[in-house]
């Protein structure tokens, strides 16, 4: 079967464009496999393992674009290469319609928009600091989606931002809202009176979506990046964000969302919260306050959403394991018929904070050896390729592998919707679940698939349709990630029923 390759020297395209090229090529008649990637060392390994490496590709350097196609015939391969040309020269519809030439640098963009107040940066991590510094030095807020930025560079960027009293949201900031407008992966939620400081993109998405379902909107959500509350960064941006939200007249209550802060940073955080006259709910997953009194500390993202809404409305609130106990019992009866004895749980996540939260829920319920959680959005999986919330393939491949794994009895999944996220993430996920089920059935096994969906009725993917697609494939969809993790625990540990569902 012929393999045709083309190397374009010094020709950069971002990982999204390359993903589109590869997808379009694979959909062509006669094309069996295709790759479109920059010539990084990791990508050379991929080409070799896919049998797509040639004499021509082996000299490609990281600045070179490599296209590789394996097809049934030379004619199909040639057609593929012509298609590549068409996609690479495509212009953005809005710019083409306006007859605009795209600026090539931040400086020339600012000449087009001299009153810009924020720069959103999602270039590869190696280049992110340079672009972010250029923006911060002009006194502009930065939304820094890029990951693979060193801790030293992060500290330098945040100090530069603090000096000019602007926000450096990130690195590795997935989501933020300014004036109710979402940046990055953002669910469509109403504008409202809850302000957020978030060291976690998917954590923020989960809480704003749940809060929206409860009828409240967002004022501002300042993303700070996952390492802001580390000992090294010391919460530089969290402090600044709390100060801004405390002074913001549209914000009536504040939610802080993070993985556990470094122990040394907790007292500092509590002092900052203690100075705020507005109610503050703190969801630092896995952390407890050092000195009680400042803020209401909650255990899960669900609890954060319910607690802040109850606070705003002056109502009482207490955490609960499930919102629909009869519904859970019915699902459980169904699921227990599928899960083998001695089964373990495999969590395949696109949201890092959701994976972390699942671990916190599962560990005390089933013990550390009964589950394994993989965060496919972690730096190691995203170098040179799109985030799994944009490109579902990396997770789909692992779902398929799970079908071959005898020990996996429960597959625990998240599905995150919103702007800039894959237009229909349930469909490729479900296709992988079907493949995994077939593989398991061929070996005389079965597994239970459990998911939760982060999304709102306003999201472009259609929340109800996404849930229906999952349920149509027999995936048990729970109302939140924490509930999904508890349900997974119930499936493999029937003895937990009394504790989690109450007496029956």
């Amino acid at each position: 079967m012929p393999v045709r390759t083309v190397v374009r020297r010094s020709y950069y395209r971002d990982s999204m464009v390359l993903m589109r090229v590869a997808e379009a090529l694979r959909a062509l008649p006669g094309v069996r496999e295709a790759a479109a990637l920059m010539g990084t060392p990791a990508n050379h390994e991929l080409l070799v393992s896919a049998g797509l490496a040639t004499e021509e590709t082996k000299d490609a350097v990281p600045g070179d674009l490599v296209i590789a196609i394996r097809a049934d015939s030379d004619a199909s391969a040639e057609a593929g290469l012509a298609e590549v040309e068409r996609i690479l020269t495509e212009r953005r519809p809005t710019d083409a319609a306006a007859g605009r030439a795209l600026p090539r640098t931040l400086e020339s963009a600012l000449r087009q928009m001299p009153d810009a107040n924020l720069v959103a940066i999602s270039v590869p991590g190696d280049y992110a600091k340079l672009e972010a510094l250029r923006a911060l030095r002009r006194g502009l807020h930065v939304f820094l989606f890029s990951d693979n930025v060193s801790l030293g560079d992060e500290i330098e960027l945040k100090r530069a931002a603090l000096e000019r009293r602007v926000f450096c949201m990130g690195p590795d900031c997935g989501t933020a809202y300014i004036n109710g407008v979402g940046l990055g992966f953002a669910n469509v939620v109403p504008r409202g009176r809850v302000g957020y400081v978030a060291a976690s993109g998917t954590g923020l998405q989960a809480v704003v979506s749940r809060v929206a379902a409860l009828g409240e909107g967002v004022s501002h959500a300042i993303g700070v990046g996952g390492r802001d509350l580390s000992a090294e960064v010391g919460g530089i941006m969290t402090d600044l964000a709390l100060e801004a939200l405390a002074a913001d007249p549209t914000t009536e209550a504040i939610v802080v969302i993070s993985k556990p802060p470094a122990p040394a940073v907790v007292p500092k955080l509590e002092t900052a919260i203690g100075r705020i006259a507005k109610p503050v709910v703190v969801c630092c997953l896995g952390a407890r306050p050092a000195a009680s009194g400042a803020g209401r500390w909650v255990a899960t993202l669900d609890d954060a959403a319910e607690s802040v809404v109850a606070t705003l409305r002056g109502g009482a609130w207490a955490p609960r394991p499930f919102t629909d106990v009869p519904g859970v019992r019915a699902r459980l009866a169904r699921a227990r018929t599928q899960a083998p004895r001695g089964a373990t749980i495999l969590g395949l996540y696109t949201g890092g904070t959701l994976a972390h939260e699942a671990g916190l829920v599962l560990e005390p319920l089933v013990g550390t050896t009964a589950y394994r959680l993989v965060d496919l959005g972690d730096d190691e999986f995203t170098r040179g390729r799109p985030h799994p919330m944009i490109d579902p393939e990396a997770r789909a491949a692992r779902v398929r592998e799970a079908g071959q794994a005898a020990e996996v009895g429960v597959l625990l999944l998240d599905l995150v919707l919103g702007r800039a996220v894959h237009p229909d993430p349930a469909t490729p996920l479900v296709a992988a679940v079907y493949d995994a089920r077939r593989a398991a059935a061929a070996a005389g096994r079965a597994f239970v698939a459990i998911a939760s969906v982060v999304g709102t009725d306003g999201d472009p993917q259609d929340l109800r349709r996404q849930i229906a697609t999952l349920e149509g494939a027999g995936v048990e969809v729970l109302p939140s990630n924490a509930q999904a993790a508890r349900f997974a625990a119930l499936v493999i540990r029937p003895g937990l029923e009394a504790a989690l569902l109450g007496g029956s």
Binding site: L106, S108, N117, L130, R134, F145, S146, R165, V181
Partner: protein, 53 residues
């Protein structure tokens, strides 16, 4: 610009075009930069970050 958050967002997007499109869909004014890595790679970028003041 101060920390005041009450100004309408006006965004320059450097990197994934997808984010510019999402902002446009949300009704935000955005200029997208057709970004390319600087010639010379990451090492040159690091050097520029130090000098570019």
């Amino acid at each position: 610009m101060s920390l005041a958050l009450d100004q309408p967002l006006r965004v320059v997007n450097v990197g994934l075009e997808l984010f510019a499109s999402a902002l446009e869909a949300a009704g935000v004014c955005v200029v997208h930069v057709d970004w390319r890595p600087p010639a010379g790679g990451p090492e040159v970028a690091a050097l520029l970050a130090r000098l570019d003041d």
